[in-house]
Amino acid sequence: MQTFILAAYVLVWPLVSLLVLAVIGVATIKDIQAARREKRELV
């Protein structure tokens, strides 16, 4: 049990990073599409 908890404690952070990476990636694609649609610069 202790082994599982310790492994989860270490490995949960890269998993959360992966989720955030996906959220930011998708949101940025939407940002690019919105900028094109509104004919303005992305930044």
């Binding site: 310790l6 490995l11 890269p14 990073s17 955030v20 959220v23 930011i24 939407k30 992305l42």
Partner: protein
């Protein structure tokens, strides 16, 4: 440094890696480069940065080289709870500023720096206090990041420390110089994607290279009872609490954050900052786990230098490909923060120094841009020169954060309370700084009446921190109640106890004293400020945009 303990790249390999990183980043900025940039975009883009780019930029900016080394050191020193006490509070710095950021945007939608807002509220002296503290923070940040580059290059290759410092300085300057903040935001996105991908791979790779989860279980026997405790008081008081105290101070004192608060689309501020909070926490706590794993395997840092922990673990247990990825991870983190610092400093000198105090709100846009770029060059030179000094990253972080503590209450109060005056602002900051120094450097004997007085002032500071945090999310009444009750509760806990924790005592004193002086001096006056004046005085500098708004 015993370099035999680290994997060594050849000079050619390191130069290729650096050229690929900085060359690729520079090519990316060509996508947005304009022959004639305008001043507003150079400082805050178009005030319309979207959620994705905003969150990426905020996360990348807040993750610097010290984040990895600091989190790993914390994990190695304090055990199980160590990485949490570094990464969690660092992440909360991003979270707790956004409610105040929305107020800043409401008061001054055209602002480029927080200093401009304070200038419109109080005048030059308060603004310059804020601007100079921002510049100090950014210079230190630049120095630390360039130092990290030099250390990394010298450890993993035959190149010298100075070569690493200079390459990072020139590399960052090359892609930030022309387009300023716009280049910083765009490159932050690419750098963050790379950093996250590498972090996601490296953390499990180290764990399984060590022998998998069973190694962690076996390593528990090497931990002291304090290190094995998730709620270790040692970790809370020596690592967590000083960071917690600095949460608001870092956010207020750092122009890189306010610049993004003014740049992100107003309705995207909340999701942007919440996402950045989670992203920062996950990456930094995750990399801090490498320090914990080092502790659990009984590894000793070479030369006793904690900054060697991560490079040592990566060198010992991973293949050269992973070591190359780690190299890019560190270079990416330090570059994304350094380019944000350059953009922040250029905006402060352009808007706060030239725009407000020299050109008196009627600047020449061409000259303004030139000043911004010149600032970047000078700041890079200073950062490269200062990088030759060796300083303990963790202590420095706490110290600068506490220094900024003195400005937190005066800045926030100035944006919500119409009775705060310029005299109240400046006297509060000066008093807070003085008392911080007295406590931090133990200029008075910490015993008897003085110690009790300082502990009570620190309790007030603790109440201010908790009260302001609550105020940001729950409003004035709840904030006041939480602040007052916390101060009373802390008074009982602090007296006779806090004097042994000098860093924490001094940091809390800065908050407590500046708050008391700010309130007292404000109440002595009778003037009331009209907040609508701020928007009228904080202007766009781009003539085309100003005409369009008119």
């Amino acid at each position: 440094m015993n370099e035999e303990n680290f994997y060594q790249f050849s000079t050619l390999t390191v130069l290729i890696l650096l050229a690929a990183f900085y060359g690729g980043t520079y090519l990316l900025t060509l996508l947005i480069k304009k022959k004639k940039e305008n001043t507003d975009a150079f400082m805050v883009s178009n005030h319309q940065i979207g959620f994705g780019l905003g969150a990426a930029s905020m996360t990348a900016t807040w993750i610097w080289a010290a984040s990895f080394y600091g989190a790993a050191t914390s994990g190695y020193t304090y055990g199980i709870s160590g990485p949490l006490h570094y990464g969690l509070w660092g992440a909360l710095m991003i979270l707790f500023i956004y409610p105040f950021g929305r107020r800043f945007r409401e008061l001054a939608p055209n602002a480029h720096t927080l200093g401009e807002l304070i200038h419109a509220r109080h005048g030059s002296s308060s603004q310059l206090i804020l601007a100079s503290s921002n510049i100090l923070g950014s210079i230190i940040s630049l120095m630390v990041n360039f130092t990290a580059s030099g250390a990394l290059v010298s450890v993993l290759s035959p190149l010298s420390f100075q070569a690493g410092v200079v390459i990072a300085g020139v590399g960052v300057l090359s892609y930030t110089l022309w387009s300023g903040f716009r280049a910083s935001v765009l490159t932050d996105f690419a750098q963050l994607m790379a950093m996250m991908a590498v972090a996601i791979l490296i953390i499990p790779a180290v764990l399984f290279a060590l022998g998998g989860p069973q190694t962690l279980s076996d390593g528990m026997s090497l931990l002291t009872p304090e290190q094995a405790d998730l709620f270790s008081m040692d970790a809370i008081l020596k690592q967590g609490a000083p960071f917690f105290v600095a949460v608001l101070a870092y956010a207020i004192g750092n122009q890189t954050i306010s610049q993004r608060l003014f740049a992100v689309r107003e309705d995207h501020i909340k999701p942007t900052f919440i996402t950045a909070t989670i992203g920062y926490g996950a990456i930094v706590i995750g990399l801090g786990m490498i320090g914990l794993m080092a502790l659990m395997t009984g590894m000793k840092p070479i030369d006793g230098d904690m900054n060697n922990l991560i490079p040592q673990m990566v060198s010992m247990y991973l293949s050269p490909v992973f070591i190359g990825l780690f190299f890019i991870l560190v270079i990416g983190s330090l570059s994304s923060t350094a380019d944000s610092d350059l953009s922040a400093m250029s905006a402060i000198v352009m808007a706060d120094v030239y725009g407000k105090n020299i050109a008196k709100n009627k600047p020449d846009p061409t000259k303004m841009l030139f000043i911004g770029r010149l600032t970047m060059i000078v700041a890079t030179l200073i950062g490269v020169i200062l990088a030759s000094f060796s300083m303990d990253i963790l202590i420095m972080l706490v110290f600068v954060g506490a220094l900024w503590g003195a400005i937190v209450f005066p800045v926030i109060a100035s944006c919500f309370w119409d009775r705060v005056t310029n005299l109240a602002f400046t006297s509060a900051v000066i008093a807070g700084l003085l008392m911080f120094c007295v406590a931090r450097f133990e200029l008075l004997p910490m015993a008897g009446f003085i110690a009790v007085l300082f502990e009570l002032l620190a309790a007030v500071g603790g109440g201010v921190v908790l009260g302001l945090m609550t105020f940001g999310f729950c409003g004035r009444r709840v904030g006041l109640i939480v602040g007052a009750l916390s101060a009373i509760g802390l008074a009982f806990l602090c007296v006779g106890f806090l004097r042994d924790y000098t860093v924490l005592l001094a940091s809390l004193m800065a908050y407590g004293v500046s708050t008391l002086v700010c309130i007292a001096v404000s109440l002595l006056g009778s003037s009331k400020f009209d907040f609508t004046q701020i928007d009228q005085n904080v202007i766009n500098y781009d003539p085309a945009k100003t005409e369009a708004q008119a």
